[in-house]
């Protein structure tokens, strides 16, 4: 029953997304242009020995491609829960869903499934373009370790997304969680450059962001094929983050639902 529900949510969102064909096509073609841009930026550093890139194999293109590709999960995790609530509120469908026996937490969780599937498709396209068109070397990749890192990444980013959705539930717009983690992760999370380039005191900010551990572990798993044992410190950080943030986010979300039901603003936007 629960799997069928999840499937119907995915089917609904796929049908809705693909009904806007141009937008669908533009999103996918945007990936190619983005990869091309980073490829040409990377050409500038070709042959240069950059110490900060040494732990990742020394190639800037591989480094940035994995950073940009997997940061898609961060932005999806942060935005999909709040985005789905807001969309349903705007379309007027949230009310119709909330009078059914399905719990609101499941409704919100399932409403974001398609976003994660679409994010995975985008990441796969990034990697396929990188491997087959731009010769990124992933022959040593430890796919099992990468999968573990990916699962922990999705859990920790989703926890932030659920807190973000709680703000949307009460305040409708102006969500500080999304804003803080979106802007901070781009700058301090090691998406475009290694965090070791940052001054020491700014690196401290990087270490409180889950994306830092997530991208570092993912690069090491895919490019260097590091084992789970070697990735243990990053995985441990992501596990701690998930253990603290997931229950906290569920607690905050429950409070937000209760608050919105008291205020009568559950379906307002």
């Amino acid at each position: 029953m629960i799997l069928k529900k999840a499937f119907l949510f995915i089917k609904r969102d796929f049908l809705l997304s693909s009904s806007y064909r141009l937008s669908f096509a533009l999103q996918l073609s945007g990936i190619f242009l983005s990869v091309l841009t980073f490829y040409f930026i990377a050409l500038m550093f070709e042959g240069a020995a950059i110490p900060a890139l040494e732990p990742y194999g020394g190639d800037y293109f591989s480094f940035v491609l994995i950073g940009v590709a997997f940061s898609t999960f961060l932005f999806t995790g942060l935005g999909s829960f709040s985005g789905s609530i807001r969309n349903e509120q705007m379309m007027g469908t949230l009310e119709a869903m909330l009078v059914t026996p399905t719990r609101i937490s499941l409704i919100i969780l399932f409403s974001s499934l398609w976003s994660f599937i679409f994010a995975s498709i985008k990441v796969l396209i990034y990697l396929l373009l990188g491997v087959f068109l731009f010769n990124i070397d992933v022959t040593n990749a430890n796919l099992f370790a990468a999968l573990i890192v990916l699962i922990l990444t999705i859990i920790s980013f989703s926890s932030l997304g659920i807190i973000s959705a709680s703000f949307i539930m009460i305040f409708k717009q102006g969500d500080p969680v999304n804003w803080i983690f979106n802007t901070m992760s781009g700058l301090f999370g090691g998406v475009f450059f290694p965090i070791t380039i940052l001054p020491g005191w700014l690196q401290n900010i990087s270490y409180i962001l889950p994306i830092t551990y997530s991208l570092r572990a993912m690069r090491h798993a895919l490019l260097q094929g590091m084992s789970l044992k070697l990735l243990a410190s990053d995985i441990f950080a992501l596990v701690i983050f998930s253990i603290i943030m997931l229950p906290l986010s569920i607690f905050i979300f429950r409070y937000a639902i209760k608050r919105a039901k008291i205020d009568g603003s559950l379906t307002q936007y």
Binding site: R12, Y20, T93, A96, P101, I170, G264
Partner: protein, 330 residues
């Protein structure tokens, strides 16, 4: 269980919050009352109407009963389940039909929409149920058309189909004919009454501000104004509770305007209007205690040389009872 829906002193007050700071402060003295101490009992298979002007609290009441809003105090049960403590179970027994046609995915077909909502209703065979409700609302032929191509009447029938997916004990309808033309509205009313109530034995709890709609459809009516139930019962009960003025139309020959004006001084006559055409006076009198007053009026007219050529009494309707209640207490 005698009543399928019961409310006990159900009250909702909204805080007048504006933003983040207001929510943190939880200011209590700015609360606005939406509904106050509502006590209602609805029997199974009853068509119950809640009538009131805009902003009276009808939608808030329905949303509380559908578990979308938490009450401030008091309680309510749907099919015996407390709407706060057993909200999941309560939702299994209720259906909700709003007057808002936006509440579907416009780029999906009618069938895809219903299949999706059926999955949320935990149905064992959702596809069968979808076909059944599409047939019920006579939209089977259009089921595979996109929702955005439907007329307003068809969209409204889709909201009923969706509300019927879980075969609910109680169907809550919030102004179901609000956005459709009079012809479609009439068809929809007849469908609700004949098919849903008489054929399928559903209990309907409908809000409306259309008094003739409530009068035609509902077994019992509650009049709500400023969040309080002003009166509740069958139309006859309401007439007894709030005796309205009756209207007496007279056509009189050979009477002067002066005499007619002086009739207005009689106790029990609240309004009198006259106009003359050739030598016939057309008089409309609003009066209470008709049985006592009417013979006196006729006697006075006849004594003063008037000859009554027509007399017509108009029974009070819900509109008059409603205006009486809302005006007097509002």
């Amino acid at each position: 269980m005698e009543y399928i829906l019961e409310t006990f002193e159900l009250t909702k007050r909204f805080a007048r919050t504006k933003g983040f700071i207001d929510i943190l402060r939880r200011s209590r003295n700015k609360d606005v009352s939406a509904i106050e101490e509502i006590n209602l009992k609805v029997k199974k298979n009853e068509f119950f109407g809640i009538v009131g002007p805009n902003g009276a609290g009808k939608t808030t009441l329905i949303k509380i009963l559908c578990t979308l809003i938490l009450p401030t105090s008091g309680s309510a049960c749907v099919n015996g389940y407390d709407i706060v403590k057993e909200d999941d179970k309560a939702r299994e027994c209720l259906g909700f039909v709003s007057g808002d046609e936006r509440s579907f995915y416009w780029r999906l077909t009618g069938r895809q929409n219903l299949e999706f909502f059926a999955s949320l209703a935990n149905l064992r065979d959702p596809n069968k149920k979808v076909c059944e409700v599409l047939e019920l609302v006579d939209l089977k032929d259009k089921a595979d058309d996109k929702f955005q191509t439907y007329s307003a009447g068809m969209k409204q029938r889709m909201t009923i189909a969706r509300g019927m997916l879980n075969d609910p004990e109680v169907l809550f309808m919030d102004e179901p004919t609000r956005s459709i033309d009079p012809f479609s509205a009439e068809k929809l009313r007849s469908f609700i009454k004949e098919e849903l109530v008489k054929e399928r034995g559903k209990t309907i709890f409908m809000s409306t501000h259309l008094l003739d709609e409530a009068e035609k459809l509902c077994d019992r009516i509650a009049i709500i104004d400023k969040g309080r139930i002003r009166a509740c019962g069958t139309l006859n009960d309401l007439e007894k509770q709030i005796p309205p003025n009756e209207i007496c139309n007279l056509e009189i020959k050979g009477i002067s305007k002066d005499i007619l004006t002086r009739l207005g001084d009689m106790e029990g006559i609240s309004e009198i209007s006259t106009h003359f055409s050739s030598d016939i006076a057309y008089v409309e009198i609003q009066l209470s205690k008709r049985e006592a007053l009417l013979p006196q009026i006729i006697e006075r007219i006849v004594k003063n040389g008037g000859k009554i050529i027509a007399c017509n009494l108009k029974k009070p309707d819900l509109n008059e009872i409603f205006m009486n209640l809302v005006d007097k207490r509002g």
